[in-house]
Amino acid sequence: MRIGIASGKGGTGKTTVATNLARTAVRRGRRVAYLDCDVEEPNGQIYLRPEIAWRRPVTLPVPVVDPGRCDGCGACGEICRFSAIVCVAGKVLVFPRLCHSCGGCSRVCPVDAIGEDLREVGVVSGGQEGKLAYRQGLLNVGEAMSPPLIRAVRAVEPVADLVVVDAPPGTSCAAVEALRGCDRVLLVTEPTPFARHDLELALDTVAQLGIPAEVVVNRAGRDGARTLALCERYGVEIVAELPDRRSIAEASSRGELAVEIDPEFEEWFQRLLAHLEDRR
């Protein structure tokens, strides 16, 4: 079973839910794979503390033009949807950071002047902590091209009883790439207008992806009725409500998991795990 943890708004508690769920499943004897696909800030390792055993760079092919062969026809620039390659005044310019690596330019070049270079966009790494296999991607600073790196993390998914995919916030390509192929999605929200607004976007996104979704309300307390009304409108169930508790925030700031310090949280996450496994 592969569970995506997503949110819309950042900072609602995706990693909190993902790491606590993963640790709970390990404690219940499950083989767990944790894929940190929040590649701009993969911080699941802070809580799960795996020993990273390997790392490898993730590269993307980008075009390189041989000016000796190029006759400046501009066919490469015509086919590129992202202006990553453009022909101006008979010269071809390449903007590697805009390139989506489709290979179209080299295919249409009539004089075979376009070769490939490899550009590193980030690093994928992995390791183990007991029965938990950990994988993450880390996007290079200044880099915008996260979907290929997320695909690289998904590609090294180990065999497990439960795969937890920690998705990036938002509803753009990066989040979609992380959620694609998940059996279910848990959308983590908090009872604030911001989080509710972005939860609605996330609900629309998972509906378009055709993935069944459920909601976890983090820092639950005030203003819960509006979140409930939104979920009812989408026919989506709230499967857990985690209270706003200072002791949990303090533990979290020390890199500790809620299920390790609070028996009530442990019970809630056990119930959440049982619920997810029932639905399988």
């Binding site: 992202f82 202006s83 990553a84 453009v86 022909c87 101006v88 903007f95």
Partner: protein, 109 residues
């Protein structure tokens, strides 16, 4: 020598558009101030690479100088490759931008 001014409208009375890649249109003029016409910028609503395509557009028109508010690195690189020079920081109307450009260049321009 042709000059392109990024503009919010097609005439010299229109305000300069401070954006290069996503300006509404370019007013094209000669260095003596004679207006040759205007060209809509189809890249204004483009998600990616608007500056690059706008640079290509003005280069293909045979423009030598661009007057605009600001110009991003990709557009700058494209304009440089095409041998088009860029003046940033233009404000006011298109006519004013053209006038201050020719005043700064001096009578020989």
């Amino acid at each position: 020598m042709k000059i392109a001014v990024s503009s919010t409208g097609p005439s010299v009375d229109a305000a300069c558009d401070e954006r290069f890649g996503r300006c509404a249109c370019f007013v094209i003029a000669e260095s003596d101030g004679t207006v040759l016409g205007s060209v809509d910028n189809p890249n204004a609503t483009q998600g990616h690479g608007a500056g690059i395509q706008a640079a290509r557009l003005v280069a293909d028109l045979g423009v030598s100088v661009v007057l605009t508010g600001r110009c991003g690195p990709n557009a700058s690189d494209t304009l440089a490759a095409a041998g088009v020079s860029v003046v940033v920081g233009c404000t006011g109307t298109v006519g004013e931008a053209l006038a201050s450009y020719s005043a700064e260049r001096g009578p020989s321009g």
